[in-house]
């Protein structure tokens, strides 16, 4: 009897079942769980960024006038800069779609979308994959910020160039995809970003640039650019179908450079400016598009002791550039089929023969003629100083003034080695 009991107890204790367990491989585990990344539902929140002053120092001033100078942006406290609202469940009552006369439900849909993050590998290597959420981000107060050039960081003894206000700036994203990986072109260092099928609105309620002279009456001292927005030509969100960018840092021609390349940019981009006012008087509105940016635009940025060196290189086509100044059928000017490029060929008077290639360049670092930005003082006046060497061509297939067609315009072979612009205070 005891032998039976002994056997039964042994049989219960011996872990026979456990010997049947086999560890799962990662692939098998993936099949079981189906989980390959994480999703985050971002909360709606209100956040504020505040500062009293932003100061940029140019220690060697202007060419010929090496006095240190300071670009000061202040009065920011008064503006309570940056009350931002982030909403992932887009409230249909206050959207860009509302502001431009679209049905919000048809634009945004009623559901929401999480932020999804994965890590994957394809033929170009490993990457981080980000599926964007729906998102509404807008500024609150941003009013009467001062731009000043001064001879010290505190901004005292300075002279105001202008005041500006930018309340009601909206960004609304409706999903999309971003892939981030090491730069595919250089393979070791640098960042490569690809954005695909990403719809978004950018809308600005009001931008006011105001004279800093206190004697000028309010409303008579400002340029107002209101109701500016980007869209797809039908007032739906602009969709960046394929945007491929890379960022590198390196040395070229004895100087260190930050280089941003837009390898690809595909999308039907239109921009509207609903209202332009000058000293309180209505000056009409603008409709621009379709804007086509060709591949391999780039920007180089560096420093020269103090101050910025730059080269901006891009080829653009703009199908229509309308300035509408009245309500009559001919109350508009239009530049139809505008081209900005490096070289032109064809017969000037016959746009059907035109052909453009290469990028228009502002600044030319290969020939040691970068575009520059400095601020400083010549002893009498504080100022911003720009030098914008330019190389390329401009063609407009049809210039329409007051509704009348004045024919084509082309300027090619431009090579402006120096174009200095000084913006002093008054």
């Amino acid at each position: 009897m005891f032998r039976y009991l002994y056997l039964i107890l042994m049989a219960i204790i011996v872990p026979v079942s456990a010997s049947a367990l086999v560890a799962l491989t990662d692939n098998e585990m993936s099949d079981v769980t189906g989980q390959t990344g994480i999703s985050i539902v971002i909360p709606d929140l209100n956040f504020g960024v505040s500062m009293t002053r932003l100061s940029l120092t140019d220690g060697d001033g202007l060419s010929g006038y090496p006095n240190p100078a300071y670009l000061v942006i202040d009065n920011i406290n008064h503006a309570s800069f940056g009350n931002f609202n982030l909403a992932t469940k887009i409230a249909m009552g206050d959207t860009v779609a509302h502001k431009i006369g679209m049905d919000p439900n048809s634009v945004y849909g009623t559901g929401m979308k999480s932020l999804d993050i994965d890590v994957g590998t394809d033929g170009d290597g490993s990457f981080i994959n980000i599926e964007l959420p729906k998102m509404q981000l807008y500024t609150g107060d941003f009013d009467d910020v001062h731009i000043r050039v001064a001879d010290n960081q505190m901004g005292t003894n300075g002279t105001d160039l202008a005041y500006f206000s930018l309340p009601g700036l909206y960004f609304e994203g409706i999903g999309g995809n971003i892939k981030v990986r090491p730069d595919r072109n250089t393979s070791n260092g640098g960042i490569d970003v690809q954005i695909t099928n990403t719809p978004f609105y950018l809308y600005n309620t009001e931008l006011t640039i105001r004279d800093s002279d206190p004697d000028t009456p309010d409303g008579q001292d400002a340029l107002e650019l209101n109701q500016f927005y980007l869209h797809d030509g039908n007032n739906n969100p602009f969709i960046l179908r394929n945007g491929h960018f890379s960022l590198n840092v390196g040395r070229k021609n004895g100087q260190n450079w930050l280089k941003l390349i837009a390898h690809e940019w595909e999308g039907d981009l239109y921009a509207n400016l609903g209202e332009m006012k000058w000293c309180g008087t209505q000056f009409g509105r603008w409709e621009i598009g379709r804007i086509i940016q060709h591949e391999n635009a780039h920007t180089y940025i560096s420093g020269h002791s103090m101050g910025l060196d730059m080269e901006i290189s891009a080829r653009l086509d703009i199908e229509n550039l309308y300035y509408i100044y009245g309500t009559g059928p001919g109350d508009y000017n239009n530049s139809h089929m505008l081209h900005l490029a490096q070289t032109f060929s064809g017969t000037e008077s016959n746009p059907s023969t035109w052909s453009f290639s290469g990028n228009l360049q502002i600044g030319d670092i290969d020939n040691n003629r970068p575009a520059t930005l400095d601020f400083g003082s010549d002893g009498n006046s504080n100022m911003l100083a720009l030098n914008l060497p330019l190389k390329g061509c401009l063609g407009i297939e049809s210039v329409q003034l007051g509704g009348q067609d004045f024919g084509p315009v082309v300027a090619h072979g431009m090579d402006i080695k120096m174009l200095k612009i000084y913006i002093p205070h008054r």
Binding site: P43, L45, V249, G250, K252, S302, D309
Partner: protein
Amino acid sequence: MKHWLFTFFVVCFFPVAALSMDAINDHEMDDITGATGIDLFLAGTLEIQISGHNLKYGDPDGLEGTGNGGFLALDSPHQTPLDSTLSLKLQDAKFSIDVGTKDAVFDSPHADVIPFGASYIRVDLPKFTANVTFNDFQLQLEDQNGLNPDTMCIIQLTDLSFAIEEIYSPMYIFSH
């Protein structure tokens, strides 16, 4: 002997322990543990400070992959470097963390997107303020050895702060 062996095998393969097992659902689990999440209250002030005066982003192979790499650097321009400090301040803060499985329609519209049957972590974030004491920073580009800087400007920010002022909904994290 055969009886013994037969008895031995029968007992081995008879899942006596498993017979007593019975799956319980989340609600039953709640009843047993009484726990539906964790609240962390911070009475008083917690302040975290991070200081530094040199931040660099390096690119080893440079612009065209030729090996002429470089750095984008934020550095103190002073002979004796001055640190900038990020202070994160939490005052009388409350975090809430819950773990659950979606088995019903939530009252929170933000949980629409969680699939039925998926497990999730729900986090209620606290409000907080982050202040930055920002001493001068020189924005510059350097060569691959961190030398020969090309300076763009010196940046000074005064009284910079960042605050989460209101939070209207919780955050959910789940796997897909």
